[in-house]
């Protein structure tokens, strides 16, 4: 398989703090790749190195066959977590400036900017200053700034944070469209439902290391159908008496129960029927949220023991 981005033993330290600890990643082309992890796990530090904003202390990063650097930057469209635009600059001038910085010629940049402004129904804003636009409009211009130079790789760091629902949908649409046209997308987020809906592959960061990597469907399958989803009417007291389980999620008439070693799903069903009226009982694969939490917890205990 062709990898668009490879990290080989990449380490980044800030003083005594190791933000990224000998990470190896192989990101295949043409897919949506999710980078997950709690705050401070090293996601943004890693993305900054992939974007050649900072350099790794150890290890190498290869983008489309060449070492990450000035040339690879032109092949990447980066939407950082901390993002914004020049408030007092006109939309058109601003986009042109950012595109030219990515190495596009003036005429090519203008052509592409006009295409995307039209695509986002924003052509009439071209002579407006950013601070004249509403927040939602600014977000659209921000996407265009990320994608207008038509790179091969798109990197979105928490792309949906702060977006209104309409722009959220729009961005999702654009991301899927880019994927369909053969581009590679990397995105970092905490929002599990977005990852579950969109990502083909994921990796999970914790404390600077990758603790889980692979195809999302394979990862989920490897956990097996070890989770019970149950809907019921009546008292939920029985749930607290179950043995060898962990309750992931519980609300009025609903529970998500993780089976641990020694748990018997049929026994749980029986005790549920004795105590409440069951409207749904299903064995499913764990949610990504569940995989995320249990992986992070177990890796944290391991590192604490070590």
């Amino acid at each position: 398989m062709d990898y668009v981005c490879t990290l080989d033993g990449v380490t980044k330290r800030y003083g005594k703090f190791t933000a990224v600890n000998s990470v190896n990643l192989h990101i295949p082309g043409g897919i949506i790749y999710g980078i997950l992890g709690p705050n401070g796990a090293g996601k943004t530090s890693t993305l900054r190195m992939v974007n050649a904003i900072t350099a790794p202390d150890e290890g190498t990063i290869t983008i489309l066959g060449q070492k990450a650097g000035e040339n690879s930057q032109q092949q990447i469209g980066y939407l950082p977590e901390e993002r914004g635009l020049y408030k007092k600059m006109k939309v058109g001038e601003q986009l042109l400036y950012l595109c030219q910085l990515k190495g596009l010629s003036k005429s090519k940049a203008k052509e592409s900017i006009n295409y995307w402004l039209e695509r986002f129904e924003a052509s009439t804003w071209i002579d407006k200053e950013i601070n004249e636009l509403s927040k939602g409009m600014q977000q659209k211009i921000q996407f265009i700034a990320t994608i207008a130079h038509d790179p091969e790789i798109y990197i979105f760091d928490e792309p949906f944070s702060g977006l209104d629902p309409i722009n959220s949908e729009l961005l999702k649409e654009v991301i899927l469209e880019l994927k369909a046209s053969g581009k590679s997308i990397i995105f970092a987020t905490h929002r599990m439902e977005q990852v579950e809906q969109m990502c083909d592959n994921i990796c999970l960061f914790n404390k600077g290391s990758v603790i889980l990597e692979g195809e999302l469907s394979k990862i989920k399958r490897s956990y097996g159908e070890n989770t019970i989803i149950i809907n019921f009417d009546g008292s939920d007291a029985f749930i607290d008496n179950l043995e060898n389980v962990r309750i992931n999620n519980k609300s009025n008439n609903f529970a998500e129960i993780r089976l641990l070693e020694g748990a018997d799903d049929q026994q749980i069903l029986r005790s549920a029927m004795e105590n409440a009226h069951i409207t749904r009982f299903q064995l499913v694969q764990p949610s990504l949220q569940e995989i995320f939490i249990s992986s992070v917890n177990s890796s944290s205990t391991q590192s604490a023991e070590a």
Binding site: Y14, G15, R48, N51, A52, I53, T54, E70, Q73, Q74, I76, Y78, P80, E82, R83, G84, L85, Y86, K87, K88, M89, Y97, L98, Q100, L101, K102, G103, A145, T146
Partner: protein, 418 residues
């Protein structure tokens, strides 16, 4: 270093700034303002003439008064027989501007009363009384006109400044004033454009655009492009000002002559038309621009680093204070250096790179400085600028990506090792 990207950044910084209303207005209006401030008083005084003061003199013996009449017959009027209380009453009613009472027995201790008129009035009266008193004493001793003539004799000093280029007639005062103006301009420019850089960096950081830009260019390229762009905004302003001032200088002398000759006597017209705005040698302009540019590079690197290290303008205070101290010290030394440009302290401090733009510039203006001294100061400044840009870039590349972390000096020193 990617030159085409550097040029893009430079162009954006330069063009967005010189297109702002604030820039256009300050560039065009500042010279008019200075023109008005310096020339209006000359015009007003030539139109208005001085207000004639009337001072009552009560001098029963009359000796002192006689001499006062000789000195200024229009101002001093005799009121020897009017009661003192009435005269005082008239002074408070502003009938007289002042009242001199000379005691009959001791003319050396006259008294002066006034209600308005201020310090200048008192010093004028004191000067006239002193002169009158000396004349009275001379008469008493019968020393005659010869001595009194000798007492009023003055030397006629003709001061000329010698330099390698030759001899120029120069009383020191005009080059002194120009030195002050140029030194102050450099100081203001370093301060103003340094702050512009700092705010520009801070703005990119608070706008959160900086990470987008540096995913296309190196942080050091962004910093240098910014510094140069803003530096040339300053240069543009100086060039426009120099053009405006030289055209004012060209037209103003005939202008003043024209205005004054219409209102006043021909004597004052002749005097005012000799008011020339001193010409500044071309080499001085070159030095001025070079000292501004290199000085600006040193300070701009520091200001850029400060702007990158903080999250808001209010946080800049603590980090700026040492820089401001370095900017103010030369202004404190300026008087000493301008009046005694070859004193050891003047020579030594003018070599300190952070002080050179102000102090060496001043020495060049008031004294004939050997070229090697100027060259040495430039070498030191360029080395310092390079060092500051290197250090500033190290701080900058970390600082711009650091949010919500209070930057202490200790923290910033740590960043330099990242």
């Amino acid at each position: 270093m990617n030159l085409s990207k550097l040029i893009l950044i430079f162009k954006r910084e330069y063009l967005t700034r010189i297109r702002t209303k604030a820039f256009i207005i300050t560039t065009l209006l500042a010279p008019l303002f200075i023109f008005a401030v310096t020339l209006l008083p000359i015009l007003i005084s030539s139109f208005g003439g001085e207000d004639q003061k009337i001072i009552a003199v009560s001098d029963p013996s009359g000796d002192l008064f006689t001499q006062l009449m000789v000195i200024d017959g229009d101002t001093y009027v005799p009121r020897h027989s009017t009661p003192v209380d009435t005269l005082k009453q008239l002074v408070t009613e502003n009938e007289y501007d002042g009242l001199i009472i000379v005691s009959e027995n001791n003319i050396q201790e006259p008294e002066f009363f006034y209600s308005s008129g201020g310090l200048e009035l008192v010093s004028d009266v004191r000067r006239d009384l002193d002169r009158a008193f000396v004349q009275v004493k001379l008469k008493e001793k019968n020393l005659g006109d010869e001595v009194s003539g000798l007492l009023q004799a003055r030397t006629n000093l003709q001061a000329s400044r010698l330099s390698k280029e030759g001899e120029t007639e120069d009383d020191g005062l005009s080059s002194f004033i120009i030195a002050y103006i140029l030194a102050f301009s450099i100081y203001m420019a370093l301060f103003i454009y340094g702050s512009v850089i700092m705010r520009g960096v801070l703005e990119e950081k608070t706008n959160r655009i900086v990470e987008i830009v540096i995913s296309s260019v190196k942080p050091v390229e962004l910093m240098i492009g910014k510094v140069l762009g803003v530096g040339f905004v300053g240069l543009t302003q100086f060039v426009v000002w120099a053009l405006i001032f030289s055209s004012i200088a060209f037209f103003s002398a005939p202008l003043i002559a024209f205005f004054t000759s219409t209102g006043a006597s021909s004597a004052t017209a002749a005097a005012s038309s000799s008011v020339t705005i001193p010409t500044i040698e071309f080499s001085v302009w070159i030095y001025f621009i070079l000292y501004y540019l290199v000085g600006y590079l040193m300070y701009a690197a520091l200001f850029a680093a400060i702007g990158s290290a903080v999250d808001s303008e209010t946080e800049t205070q603590q980090l700026m204070s040492p820089v401001i101290v370095f900017m103010i010290i030369p202004m404190i030394l300026l008087g000493k250096v301008a009046s005694d440009p070859m004193a050891p302290i003047s020579v030594i401090t003018s070599y300190i790179p952070l002080f050179s733009p102000v102090l060496m510039m001043t020495r060049i203006m008031v004294a004939d400085i050997p070229f090697w001294e100027i060259a040495l100061s430039f070498l030191l400044m360029i080395a310092t600028a390079a060092l500051f840009i290197w250090v500033g870039a190290k701080i900058y590349r970390v600082g711009i990506l650091m949010y919500g972390k209070k930057a202490s000096f200790k923290e910033i020193i740590k960043w330099m090792r990242y």
